[in-house]
């Protein structure tokens, strides 16, 4: 049987506020356990939540970026369940009146296709703490569970899509787009390995062309795009096996183990809690007025879609390069630094997407961690454009820049070119003298060349270039050498 795959995503994005959503504690990652938990975060008796305005502004920025309606009256609800890392015994979240209403995101796919994924809504909520099951022992050596409440109360937006994606490719493309969006907005650091951005995938299958959705499962714990892709493939295969054997899918939450490419059931619908949602009486409804929305709108940076269009227009880049360069805000900024110092956009794009990106990948580093600046790269590209260095010389300069040899000045490339003597000689009279000198010692080769036909002559040219480059200590401009040679040999 042929099946349609139906995928919807739920995304938890930690908002990059300095303090928590309902208390003044810091949200910084990596502190000693429980050093960033106040009386409010610990749910000490009598303490009360006070909303963090910045979290609301970030959520509104997200809403504006996904073309969504903004909820003018934002209500918080209590989601009740007991767990040790949930200090109040309920999570403060939004059920019926979320801050972000329906919206959409357009996603580019391979082959120039595009897909619109609708956003059902996005709501504000608080994160829970963490249970630590490892390396904790009591005085008798029994294993213990520790609770770290540093994360408790970190603001999240939970973004819920409609089930609009029909393949792992589409889901991953959407996830990458969302990642790029929240990073560009500066509302989330986007670090999936630290859990700043967490994707849960709802998957179901239905007979091809059917209008009725099948029973879905939710797969959690996907902390990289690669794992997401694998987990979707895994779950689709699992469901297909069951359905084709005449079985029935159980609505459940599954936990994916990326290292083993396995998933296991966490809890089924029957075991699911009755969360007993009700409006939180400690928080009044928050009214989002026009002025507040404007205060968020002015903070919106250029978003990837708009940036891509601008790159194509302003720098005459092709669709592919523009797309790659505009997705990631940091890479975009790096590129624009590069291009502003070299005036050759195509060459700058080649270097940013080529040498620079390859080197980041090889070293497993992010743009922010790169040891060279966009300006430094721009100065180097400028030297290629004005023939100061050859492209092979430029690669040597790049390597030296990366290793910090040129120092941290903007014009480090020039210093390296100077120090390593990589400047090409483009003075025609000086090059002519070298050509004359070299040709004087190669009469046999000249004779051979002059007897050869057109096709063979091209091949024989290489035999002169080697000695010429050697004689110029590698600094002769190869293009000019070729021109002079052709003129002299053909004379």
């Amino acid at each position: 049987m042929q099946w349609d795959i139906v995928i919807g995503l739920e995304i938890h994005a930690q908002l990059a506020t300095k303090t928590k959503i309902f208390s003044g504690s810091s949200t910084a990652f990596g502190a000693e356990p429980n050093t960033q938990a106040s009386a409010v975060d610990l749910a000490m008796p009598g303490t009360l939540p006070v909303p963090n305005e910045q979290a609301f502004r970030y959520a509104v920025m997200f809403g504006l970026a996904v073309n969504a309606e903004i909820g003018r009256r934002s209500v918080f609800d209590r989601k009740n369940y007991f767990y040790p890392d949930l200090p109040k015994g309920y999570q403060t979240t939004q059920l019926d009146h979320p801050i972000v209403g329906p919206g959409f995101v357009d996603v580019d796919l391979a082959g120039g296709r595009s897909k619109r994924v609708r956003i059902h809504h996005a709501h504000l909520e608080e994160d829970a703490g963490k249970s630590l099951h490892e390396s904790l022992f009591d005085e008798r050596g029994q294993g213990m569970t520790g609770i770290d409440l540093n994360r408790a109360g970190t603001p999240l937006i939970e973004i819920v899509t409609e089930p609009d994606m029909n393949s792992a490719e589409e889901a991953v493309a959407f996830a990458k787009k969302l990642h790029s969006l929240v990073s560009s907005l500066g509302i989330c650091d986007g670090d999936m390995s630290q859990g700043s951005l967490r994707f849960d995938v709802n998957i179901s299958l239905k007979p091809k062309g059917s209008d009725t959705l099948g029973t879905r499962t939710e797969t959690k714990n996907l902390n990289s795009f690669r794992f997401m892709e694998q987990a979707i493939a895994h779950e689709v295969a699992r469901q297909m096996d069951i359905l084709e054997d005449g079985g029935r899918i159980i609505q459940e939450t599954r936990l994916y183990n990326g290292d083993r490419d396995e998933s296991r059931s966490m809890r089924s619908k029957e075991e699911a809690n009755d969360y007993r949602y009700f409006p939180c009486p400690d928080l009044l409804p928050v009214v989002i007025d026009d002025a507040f929305i404007e205060s968020a709108r002015v903070l919106l940076p250029e978003l990837p879609d708009a940036r891509k269009a601008r790159f194509k227009e302003q720098y005459s880049l092709n669709d592919y390069d523009a797309s790659l360069l505009s997705d990631d805000a940091r890479l975009s900024a790096f590129f624009e630094d590069t291009v502003s110092h070299c005036k050759d956009a195509k060459l700058a794009a080649n270097w940013v997407l080529g040498e620079f990106s390859a080197r980041l990948n090889a070293d497993n580093e992010t743009v922010a961690q790169a040891p060279i600046s966009g300006i430094q790269l721009g100065q180097l590209v400028a030297r290629i454009a004005d023939n100061t260095v050859s492209s092979s010389g430029a690669k040597k300069v790049f390597e030296a820049l990366w290793n910090g040899d040129g120092g941290s000045e903007d014009n480090a490339a020039d210093a390296i070119i100077e120090a390593q003597g990589l400047k090409q000689v483009s003075d025609t009279s000086a090059l002519e003298a070298i050509v004359d000198e070299v040709l004087a010692g190669m009469p046999e080769q000249i004779a051979q060349f002059q007897e050869a036909d057109e096709k063979k002559r091209k091949k024989l040219m290489g035999g002169f270039m080697g000695p010429l480059m050697k004689a110029s200590k590698g600094q002769g401009n190869p293009r000019l050498f070729t021109e002079i040679l052709q003129r002299k040999l053909n004379a």
């Binding site: 000490m44 009598g46 200090p87 009700f278």
Partner: protein
Amino acid sequence: MHNKSVAELSRELESGKISSVELTREFLDRIKAEDGQYNSFITVTEDLAMADAKAADEQRAAGNANVWTGVPFAHKDIFCTNGVATTAGSKMLANFVPPYDATVVANFRAAGAVCLGKTNMDEFAMGSSTESSFFGPVTNPWGLNKGEKRVPGGSSGGSAAAIAARLVPAATATDTGGSIRQPAALCGVTGLKPTYGRVSRYGMIAFASSLDQGGTMARTAEDNALMLNVMAGFDPKDSTSANRAVPDYTATLNQPLKGLRVGLPREYFSDQLNPAMEQQVRNAVKEYEKLGATVKEVSLPHAELAIAAYYVIAPAEASANLSRFDGVRYGYRCDNPQDLNDLYTRTRAEGFGNEVKRRILVGTYALSAGYFDAYYLKAQKVRRLIQQDFINAFKEVDVLMSPVSPSPAFVQGEKTSDPVTMYLEDIFTIAVNLVGVPAMSVPAGFVDGLPVGLQIIGNYFEEARLLNAAHQFQQVTGWHQKFPQ
């Protein structure tokens, strides 16, 4: 000295007739000598009080005294006190010492008042008799001379009994469904539940967040005004607190009442009311007519639905508010938990008393899938209808007057076996919390030697008008000065 009001004691301190150290010592000695028969205190902070009294005397000597500097009082044990056990009358928090002050506590501290200790209360403020305290029931000072052990009302029964017995001149209290007004009435003292949001709830252990309100209790209306001056105001730590100016509540106490429009809600003078009580309340209303007030009957058509709505909403909120008591971070934890579930179930089964468990169960039920609409949502609709009743009534009159409780203080144990009878104690007080308006209980006579309270209900943020009305009444009556023999 122990018979004097806060205002009088403040003047004595200012004149130098007595020092705060002497005054504090006198009240501490009274507590030590007499509280065995009332059990109105859970914790007496003798050393801290004496140190605070000494500091207050030094402050006064330095010329920095205000009206509260050096005046002794007490806090209901629901307000968190930094470094002093705060139990909410529960085994669950018997060992709990908060590392922070409630905003109300911080305000009294800043005013230089001397806290003598923490008063007894129904467990988590759930009760109308102060019999559900883990620390034992409180006995009403009234009736003891006949050998009867009567309840002081609740949940702020410790504060009310301590003031009636002259162990403190004033005490803080809280009111979720009548917990200030009913004990004030049953103990013959004056109490005020302010408008919801007038006093910060930060550090006040929550029972039902949309109904809880901290307030005042003392012998006189003037003392209540002095307390409210310290307690009222916007608190950035409580986003439900009202961000509006606080008047000087003593400034308008002496305004004449001529032209005050008094409404008597027909539904609050029903057959459930003890006839002798009704007579006392109507006599009090006559005093107001003598003072120049005009009186008319008004209607609160949805009054009879208040108890039912309240006993859905309050337990629903409580069921979530009390989830934090799980044995994980602070408070009671059961011995040798076998696993997480065992930790939760035994901690909560052993740490909470029966009334608290009953309300958690009721609230959990009301919020459950399939019941939410029929109970919680319906109750909220009723709440809006009741609110509209009050808004309509206040278009016609300035204040409403009624009895506080249907009968005077009952004998301990009389109603503990039947929760519904106990809940009906609050039949005249509960709607005020659902609506959020302020209300007072003012001593207004006796029935069989037991105090009767007059309830005065005002429009939102009209505490000053209530205090003015109560103060004028107390200038022409002596009920608030009666002392249990």
